[in-house]
């Protein structure tokens, strides 16, 4: 069964498009990455799913139930972690988590304790005194404490240090292995690559592509920089998969998509001072891969 399904979901803010005609489904037990640059409509989609805002047209269901009509009921089984965490600042972490738990009518104390310990979150501090990263941790615990069936994450890793990110990803994998479905919104391709089974890509409110991580990686561009000892010519790089080639004196830069062996053989023929292969940022992928 599809855990989340949207049909032609559209939201306008006045004349500004939030998202348009977004049809998407999240299968049970998968981790779906939802990526796109800032302002692409990721948060709008999530807010529509959580009925914080209402669609201009189209509809969405979660667990097969309409998100507006059955909002309070389906939210019992949803854990949501916002991108920017805003909580009642006069409360202590413990009080906030207990307040959060009080909405679910079940004992969440063990999970609060376990997840807080894993993230090294001090429960006795005032929310007001927490750093950005620590507020984010409160957000994680708050989103997971009721053992939800669907976890919705909106750019969850900002502010977390690398070790915490690792713990957090480990936690998500464990939740996923326990059968939880995860909807993971992000603008960082590499973190989506680490954890997701499938990826949906949005740009300017449109769903551009949805495919398995495997395909995406195969089709993925690399950004290649070379510093050569001798001058090279454009013709040397006329190879399928090379695009956006720029040669300035001894500096060569291009995007490459295809078999890495082909390009490594080509590079091996050139006398190099230095070279670098990196992941292009999302903007570049959108510009070149998705036109």
């Amino acid at each position: 069964m599809d855990i989340v399904e949207t049909k032609n979901l559209t939201k306008y803010y006045g004349s500004v498009t939030g998202i348009k005609d977004l049809s998407l489904s999240v299968e049970e037990g998968e981790i779906l990455g939802f990526i796109g640059p800032n302002g692409a409509g990721k948060s709008t989609t999530i807010r529509l799913l959580l009925s914080l805002i209402y669609p201009s047209s189209g509809s969405a269901t979660i667990f097969g139930k309409d998100v507006i009509e059955y909002g309070p009921e389906i939210k019992r089984e949803i854990g949501y972690m916002p991108s920017e965490v805003f909580y009642y600042e006069n409360m202590r972490v413990k009080e906030l988590l207990e307040y959060s738990a009080s909405f679910y009518h079940k004992d969440c104390s063990k999970r609060i304790k376990d997840i807080s310990a894993l993230l090294k979150l001090d429960l006795n501090k005032k929310i007001d005194d927490l750093s950005y990263g620590n507020k984010k941790k409160v957000g994680i615990v708050q989103g997971l404490l009721h053992d939800p069936r669907l976890i919705i994450l909106d750019e969850p890793t900002g502010g977390l240090d690398p070790l915490m990110q690792k713990n957090f990803f480990q936690l998500l994998r464990e939740e996923n292995q326990a059968g939880k479905t995860i909807f993971f919104s992000s603008h960082i391709l590499s973190e989506v690559q680490k954890i997701c089974d499938r990826v949906a890509i949005v740009k300017d409110g449109d769903l551009i592509n949805i495919e398995s991580m495997e395909n995406l990686i195969q089709n993925n561009y690399k950004r290649v920089h070379l510093v050569t000892r001798q001058k090279v010519k454009h013709e040397q790089f006329q190879l399928p998969g090379v695009s956006n080639l720029k040669i300035e004196n001894s500096n060569v830069g291009f995007l490459y998509k295809g078999d890495v062996n082909t390009i490594s053989r080509l590079i091996a023929q050139i006398d190099l001072v230095d070279f670098m292969v990196e992941e292009p940022d999302l903007e570049e992928i959108f510009m070149h891969y998705y036109g």
Partner: protein
């Protein structure tokens, strides 16, 4: 119920502050009354030498200020304004703070419907205005005998305080309605407080000028005018009925507006 308890806890400090302000007001007002009473000056002579407009704005037009009851009836106008301000700020704030502090995202992603959230917030706000009304009632009953040697006026106090409650109810719900309708949350507090000020001015204008008495229908301060209630020793039942009907409409309106609202944090 968790929302109700949390709100009451959040407003505990503010309630204590308002209670202290009211006790301070009562003490200072009644000590003035005692001063006049002891010195033997007739307050009535003094105030009758003032222009009628001032008497109307200050709320003592037509009252016998020499008697403790008459003096208290004048004080009730001030109490009504104070408690009205409290109610209007509470009504708008209890809704709009979730949006200004951006905690609405937390609250609305919990398994609680918007109607549920509104209901318990309204219940908490009603509890708070009732507590403040009771604090005012009790501190009046305790304070007045300290400054007045005449017969007890507890009966008058008990009879007049419900008028203050109805005024509180009006402004609580006006603030509540404005905050649920408002697209920008900060707008609600300012606007609903302006409504309070405007209706207060209207009620003073009605007292000053005999020509615009039809305006008395436009202000809750006139529906529950302490000096009239004190003089006639009766409430106008139609104003009470109207208030309750208006309250029901404002609550339904708030619910409708809140249900439709987009929360874009």
């Amino acid at each position: 119920m968790n929302i109700y308890l949390k709100e009451l806890r959040d407003y505990r400090k503010s309630l204590i502050f308002w209670s202290l302000a009211i006790v301070a007001f009562l003490l200072s007002a009644m000590s003035k009354y005692q001063g006049y009473a002891k010195s033997g000056t007739s307050i009535n002579d003094f105030v009758s030498s003032m222009p009628a407009g001032i008497g109307a704005v200050l709320g003592f037009k037509g009252l016998d200020l020499q008697s403790a009851g008459g003096f208290f009836a004048m004080c009730v106008l001030y109490l009504a304004v104070m408690l009205g301000v409290h109610a209007v700020l509470l009504g708008s704030g209890i809704i709009s703070k979730e949006e200004t502090d951006k905690t609405i995202e937390f609250l609305c992603t919990k398994p609680a419907s918007r109607t549920h959230i509104l209901f318990f917030k309204l219940l908490a706000a009603l509890t708070a205005i009732m507590i403040l009304n009771l604090v005012t009632l009790v501190s009046s009953i305790v304070t007045l005998p300290l400054f007045s040697e005449g017969p007890s006026i507890n009966g008058d106090i008990l009879f007049l305080m419900p008028s203050v409650f109805f005024i509180q109810l009006w402004f609580l719900l006006i603030g509540f309605l404005f905050a649920t309708v408002a697209r920008r949350p900060r707008w609600a507090g300012m606007t609903s407080a302006s409504v309070l000020l405007a209706t207060f001015i209207i009620s003073a204008v009605v007292d000053i000028s005999g020509k615009v008495s039809f305006l008395k229908y436009a202000t809750p301060f006139k529906y529950f005018d302490a000096k009239t209630i004190y003089a006639e020793h009766a409430y106008d039942i139609w104003y009470i009925v109207f208030t309750l009907v208006a309250a029901a409409i404002m609550i339904a309106g708030s619910r409708y507006a809140y249900q439709k609202k987009d929360f874009s944090v």
